[in-house]
Structures are given as C-alpha cells and as structure tokens.
C-alpha cells in the first residue's frame, strides 16, 4: 500500500492549446478512497490515466509511495484497474477465474490459492470457489471481477466510472459493496465519476475538478458545508444549492424586495464587488413572515420532508425574477400548492461568494 502524489502534473493533448489537466497538486493518503469528480471534460479521467501511465505527463511528476512513476510503463506501476473487462470463463472454476492472471507473475500455486481464498472471504464468495461461473448473477460476476483485482495485491486501485455500465439497481448495490470492501482492504483507491452523489457517498475525500483545474479537495461533509467557490457550491448537493445573486446594499444583499442580512466581516471582504452571490442549501430555508419572496410552483412530500419548488419574485430587479428556488422543510407546507410565500434563510448556513473572484467570502 502507498500514498499517491501528483505534483504540478500537467497533460496537454497534441493540437490542443489548453491543458486537459493543469498543474494538478493532489496528495492521496495511504489507504485513502479518493474520488475525482466533475463535469465531462474536467480532466478527472485524464488525471487517473496519467496515474495509470496511459497518458503522458507533459510536466510535473507523479509518485506512488516513494517511487517516481512519471515515466514508467503501466505494468511497472503496481496498480490495478478494476472492472475494465471482466469476461468470466465458463470452463474454469470461480477460483481459477479469480486467480489465473497470477500465473503470469509466477506466483507459486500455494500462494495463489491462499490469495484467492482470502479475496473470496472478503467478497462472500467462498462457497462459490469450486463452482463454474455460469449460474452467477450480475452482482456476483462483478464480485469475481473485483476478486481478480484484489488477488493481485496492488499498491493502488484505479476505477474509472466503474458503475456506468450497470443498471440502476446493480449500480447502487455495487457502490455500497465497493466502498465497504475498500475500507476492509485499506488499499489506496482513486475513483473517477461524474456523479456527485456517488462521489459524496463513496469517498473519504473528494477532489472536484473543472476545466483541468482542481477546484477543491476535501471530505464530503466539508465540501457540502464549506464549498470553496461558486462552482463547487453549485456542483455538490442534490438538490443543488440555491445560488442567488444580488447587489450589495447597506447591511446585506438585496434579493427582490428583501435585504438578506450579511455580517460586517463578510461585507468587508467584498470590497471589490458590487454584487455578491449567496448560496443557501434547500434545507436552510424555512417558510416565515420575513424573508425572500417566492412563487411556489410545486409542493412535493418525500418521506418526512417537504420540497417546495418555487421561483423568485423580483420587484426591483427584473433579472432576479424567475430564478428557481428549492426549499426543503421538515414542517408540512400548509396552504396552497401555489402562491407567494416568504422563505427565511438560517443565518448560520449562508455561503457567500464574490462575483468578481468566484471565491468563498464567508467562513
């Protein structure tokens, strides 16, 4: 096992004028489950492929443990790509299906058997070892595939959108299995996904990328509670954070006919801005006497929660009019499913961003 370190790692594709990955600096701890997430083209897959040795590193370095692997071919990096292809061979037992590749590495038979048994125990497949794979379910086949990677005992597991080829149900089940398994194995894992819910559910830490640049790397909870910039704020969370832009006025920000109060410290940091963006998570909004005026369009009850889908009412600023606002309240929404209500934001859960720099201003 080992830590992984990207240091100023850059990849520029031939005939491209801007880097696909731009000076990536990322330290991944020994045994950590790191998820790279971001929209399509953000550089997450390229970063993983640089670590795998599939993409050249144009500048900067990549280390696995103490070893500089920047120029090493993939097979000398002691990594395993999981799930890439998992043909199961019908005439071989599940045990042989899991362990056959070790023959190429000249692992002696006794050790091969031992490793396979160990992996099978971890995967709940012991009773299947002497079976042929034909009767296995989709999920069991996936586990045999995982077993094939586990028996190699690599320093790092790499997974590039491993669940994208599965149907929805199997995807959720496999997600839980991978996370649990990684925790038990304690092997450093780098996992790429475009799905932020997947990223947040699985990762010890999550690195959010956009346009080849690392935006923020933090634990899922910290990303949620303290997004570092506007992009992360909008990307992380489902339903998404409400991002409302308004001009700075005395004591706060003007949103429609309401002034949302902001602390003096935050306003002081906004000296270069004339307007700010305030981020409010749906659960930080409550229906109240005073607050932001919205037109409720749809009310949805989901379990104990009520979701209000509404649009901002703008009296002075026309540009504000029509923006979607989602509120999640624990209280039942009494009254009509449409009409104007006011939403008060929990002042301790406000995220304030500079429109000039896109960076977070509030603590």
């Amino acid at each position: 096992m080992a830590n992984v370190s990207f240091s100023d790692a850059t990849r520029i594709y031939p005939n491209s004028d801007h880097p696909a990955v731009d000076r990536l600096n990322l330290e991944i701890g020994d045994g950590e489950f790191m998820v790279l997430v971001g929209p399509s083209g953000c550089g997450k897959s390229t970063s993983l492929r640089m670590l795998a040795g599939l993409e050249e590193v144009n500048s900067g370095r990549i280390l696995i443990g103490d070893r500089d692997v920047t120029d090493l071919p993939p097979k000398d990096r002691d990594i395993a790509m999981v799930f890439q292809n998992y043909a199961l061979y019908p005439h071989m037992t599940v045990a042989d299906n899991m362990g056959f590749a070790l023959k190429m590495q000249n692992v002696p038979k006794a050790e091969r058997q031992e490793r396979v048994l160990e992996a099978a125990k971890l995967l709940g497949l012991e009773d299947f070892l002497s079976r042929k794979p034909k009767a296995l379910s989709g999920g069991q086949r996936q586990r045999v595939a995982m077993g094939r990677a586990i028996v190699r005992q690599p320093q790092v597991f790499l997974m590039d959108e491993p669940l994208s080829n599965l149907d929805a149900k199997l995807r959720v089940a496999t997600r839980t299995q991978i996370a649990a398994l990684q925790q038990r194995l304690g092997v450093t894992t780098v996992y790429v996904t475009h799905d932020q819910v997947e990223a947040m559910t699985m990762g010890d830490r999550v690195a959010v990328m956009k346009d080849g640049l690392l935006q923020q790397v933090a634990s899922p909870l910290e990303l949620y509670d303290r997004p570092g910039n506007l992009f992360v704020a909008g990307f992380i969370g489902s339903p998404a954070m409400n991002l409302i832009e308004g001009p700075i006025v005395s004591g706060g920000v003007q949103i429609g006919d309401y002034i949302l109060p902001l602390s003096r410290e935050v306003l002081a940091k906004a000296s270069n801005d004339t307007s700010l963006t305030v981020g409010i998570r749906p659960e930080a909004l409550e229906v109240a006497e005073q607050g932001i005026a919205v037109n409720v369009n749809i009310v949805e009850e989901l379990g104990a929660d009520t979701y209000l889908y509404s649009t901002l009412v703008g009296s002075t600023d026309q540009s504000v009019d029509g923006q979607q606002i989602v509120a999640r309240t624990s209280a039942r929404h009494k009254g009509r499913s449409s009409g104007t209500v006011r939403l008060a934001a929990d002042p301790t859960q406000l995220h304030v961003f500079s429109n000039a720099t896109q960076e977070r201003l509030s603590d």
């Binding site: 031939p14 599939l54 190429m104 009773d127 079976r131 379910s137 999920g139 089940a173 559910t201």
Partner: protein
C-alpha cells in the same frame, strides 16, 4: 415504439420482436453459430438469407460502439460492419429494455474455439497469433486503443495459407489522434491477461490442443507484437554509405503487407549518419494493388498469391511489356473467372472465391510435382473440386465447426457459449451478500446527508479512539 438508427437500413428488421428481451427470442429467428464469450446477451438472427449479430447492451455503450465501428469501417480496418441500433424498446409490460446493436455477420469467419482445438498444428497456431498481432498493430497505428483484446472479440478468416483477424467487439475501444506508449502497453497487458484466460478456459474445457502451453502462447503474442511494431514505426540509423537500407526498409514493410505513406529521413550536418522512421504506414499493400488491377476484394495474403499468379501469367503469355492493367483484365477473364465458373454452385459456400483460387493453385502445384508435368488450370480445378472441396465443411455460415468436440457434453444454451456445459447437481450456494442487497431500500436520487454526517461522525470517533489508544 422502438426506434431504428441505421446508415444502411434493412426493412426486414422492422417486424422483429423488439419488445421481447433478446434472451427470450423465439428460436426460429435465431442461428446457433459458434462464437466467443460475452458479458452481454448476444444472438445471431436470421433475416432472409442474411445473418446479423444482435447484442443487447445499455444505451451509451451501444451508441459508442456503433460510432466506433463506423469510424473503423471508414478507416478500412478489419472489423465487423455496424448495421444499426434499435433503441427505445419497451416490453409489453411497459418495462424499458436496453438497446440492441446490430452488426453484420462476417461471412466465412471462423471463431477461435474451432481453431485451437485438438488436432491443430503448431504452424496454424502461430499463424492465428500472427493474424491477431497484425490486427492489434493496425488498430494501434490508427490510434485505436481496444481495451479488450481477446480471442472472443476476434474472428478469423482464411487468408491463403494464413489467417486474417477481424475485430468483433469495440465496446471498450477509444479512438485517439495517436496512442501513447502507455496506452499501447496497457492494451497489450490486457491482451495478455485475456488471452491467458481464453487459453486456460479452452484447456479446462478439453478444447485446447494438449501440447500447447497457454503461458508460452501469450508470451509469443507479446514478443511478436513488439517485433512488428518496431518494424512498422522504429527508428533506424546508419551511415551515409548504406543508402540501400532506406529501400530495404520499404521492401520489408511491403512484404509485411504495409505501404509506406510517409517516411521521415534525417541526415546530420556532415551527412554521415542517416536516420529513418516510417511516419505513416497503411496496411493492405497487396490487396490494394489487386483491387486496383482487378476489382477483386480479398485478404492481404490471398492478394499476394493472386498477384504472383498474375505476374507468372504475364510472363507465360509473353505480355511482359504490356500495361499491367491490361494484363490483369486478361488474367481475370482467362484464369480467375474460368476457375470460379468451374466450381459447382452448391459448393461455393465452402470457401471464398479468392481462397478457392489459392487452394486450386496449391493443388495444381502438388499435382505437377507428383506427376512431373505442367497441369492446366482447369484440370487442376476439377481435381480440387473432386478431391478437396466436396469434402470440406461449409464456412460461409459456419454452423458445424463447433460440433461438440467432447461429445458427451452439452451446452447449457446452444445460443450462448458463455454459459458453459450442463453439469449435474447444481444447487447454487446461499449468498449472504445478495440476500442483504435485496433487503436494501431503493436508493434516493438525492444525497443522503444524514448518512453522510453519521459516517463522518463515526470516522471522527474511530480516529479519536485510535489516537487515545496510541497515547500512553
């Protein structure tokens, strides 16, 4: 209603039962052709006289593979021909079904399971592996990373004395402007693992020639790929006095079946050292020439053989100074066509025309050696039909090749070899994981924040405890 996306629509496909999961299609629509292993449901479907391969696969993969196969076709790479995708399939009970990707069945193709079976000669094995290596190198030359090189994903066709390999499955493929060394190495690494699995599986099923050692076969693929790649793209340096090495390199590449479209030649300031590197090489040196001269579309080595015969014909008929295209036309009407016409119609599905011509030439050579006389082509053709062709199995639509090698065993599903053979006493063991997964509630599309906070708290607790333990 299902939706058809196709560049070459075949209206006979429209009335097929798209609302039924492919695995449940009525057998009267299917053909049990031998094929490789697959992660997905794959069936051969018969429409009139044509056979298509149908693969049920999730939407983005179906689209991805369809486009890639088209790209490969445009580049003239040997791959199966994409026909279309059927999307928006809904079952009768309203449950949506995955799309089906349709490709044309490659006529005269031989799946690997029939080729490495007991009785196969070492020579044949080497030729199959060489064909595979050439295919991978050709794909790498155009920037295609396969990601899943395996015997199951390759079909072989006879090519004179050798074989030509075709790509069947492009699901994991990626097309780049140029492959990095790491990408190529990784592809080869995957190939090694997959091929080892393929060979060991054949061995476990008693379907591999006993003398063949899977590990050695796999090593052979790797070393042959390296050699070929080096010849195709490697830098060669020599002194200014050895200029003929430029031409030698081009000849060697031609002999391997490649044309050099761009050769980079650099000399140092005093012209003492010359450095050459092929920058663009195209496969199909001989088949392109034959196609240009005769319009015949053949494999590379068939073309080489036919071109040799054309050259001999030119010399024998005293046309050495006549334009090559004119001689080619003459050869086609007086040599090639008469041989084809002499093949009885009912035997024509046994081999492709160019392959038949090649085998007739072989037959004639052996007969001439035996009888110490020149044998006329048509006489040889009749002999070949009588002694060889009539006893060969049909290969156009290869139904018999997988006739059970081990006769007391039966495939679980004749339409899906991935399922293996029927075996007695097969109660599946209890799987605690699956039972647990079944009990889990359906996941919400929203982020479960409570679970996230609980997990973070548990982690913090565990950390605090471990720190407390570590502090004396």
């Amino acid at each position: 209603m299902p939706r058809f996306i196709s560049a070459k629509p075949d209206s006979r496909l429209l009335p097929l039962p798209w609302e039924t999961p492919l695995a449940e299609w009525p057998v009267n629509l299917l053909v049990a052709l031998p094929r490789g292993l697959s992660r997905h449901v794959v069936r051969f479907i018969k429409v009139g006289d044509d056979v298509y391969a149908a693969k049920e696969v999730i939407d983005h993969l179906a689209q991805h593979e369809y486009r890639l196969l088209h790209a490969l076709m445009r580049q003239g790479t040997p791959a199966v021909e994409p026909v279309g995708i059927i999307t928006e399939r809904g079952a009768v009970d309203g449950v949506p079904l995955d799309p089906i990707l349709i490709t044309r069945h490659l006529e005269f193709s031989l799946p690997y399971r029939s080729l490495f079976s007991p009785g196969v000669r070492q020579e044949t094995v080497s030729r199959l592996l060489d064909a595979m290596v050439v295919l991978v190198a050709r794909l790498h030359l155009i920037g295609f990373k396969w990601g899943d090189v395996s015997l199951s994903n390759i079909l072989f066709r006879r090519d004179a004395d050798t074989f030509a390999a075709y790509l069947v499955d492009a699901e994991t493929g990626e097309l780049h402007a140029r492959l990095t060394r790491g990408q190529r190495e990784h592809d080869i690494d995957i190939a090694r693992t997959n091929l080892l699995g393929d060979f060991l599986d054949l061995q476990a099923g008693g379907l591999l020639q006993e003398k063949l050692d899977p590990l050695r076969l796999v090593d052979m693929v790797t070393s042959r790929y390296r050699e070929l790649w080096n010849e195709l793209t490697g830098v060669e340096e020599f002194s200014g006095g050895e200029l003929d090495r430029i031409e030698n390199r081009v000849r060697r590449l031609n002999a391997l079946g490649f044309d050099v479209a761009e050769l980079d030649i650099q000399t140092d300031a005093d012209q003492e050292t010359i450095r050459i590197q092929p920058m663009v090489v195209d496969a199909g040196h001989h088949s392109r020439r034959l196609m240009r001269l005769t319009g015949l579309d053949t494999e590379e080595n068939q073309a080489r053989r036919l071109l040799n015969d054309l050259d001999t014909y030119r010399w024998r008929t005293g046309q050495a100074h006549v334009d090559e295209a004119v001689v080619a036309h003459d050869w086609l009407t007086h040599s090639f066509q008469p041989v084809m016409n002499a093949i009885p119609a009912e035997l024509r599905a046994k081999r492709e025309p160019a392959q038949i011509f090649h085998e007739v030439l072989d037959y004639r050579w052996y007969q001439a050696q035996r009888e110490c006389r020149e044998v006329p082509l048509l006489e040889a053709t009749h002999g070949y039909v009588r002694d060889v062709l009539s006893d060969l199995p049909d290969e156009e639509l290869n139904l018999d090749v997988l006739a059970p090698v081990v006769e007391d065993r039966q495939l679980v599903n004749p339409y899906d070899p991935s399922m293996g053979y029927v075996e007695a006493g097969e109660e599946p063991p209890v799987d605690a994981w699956e039972n647990q997964a079944d009990d889990q509630p359906e996941a919400s599309p929203f982020l479960d924040l409570a679970a996230l906070r609980a997990r973070a708290a548990a982690k913090a607790r565990a950390k605090a405890e471990s720190e407390a333990r570590d502090t004396p």
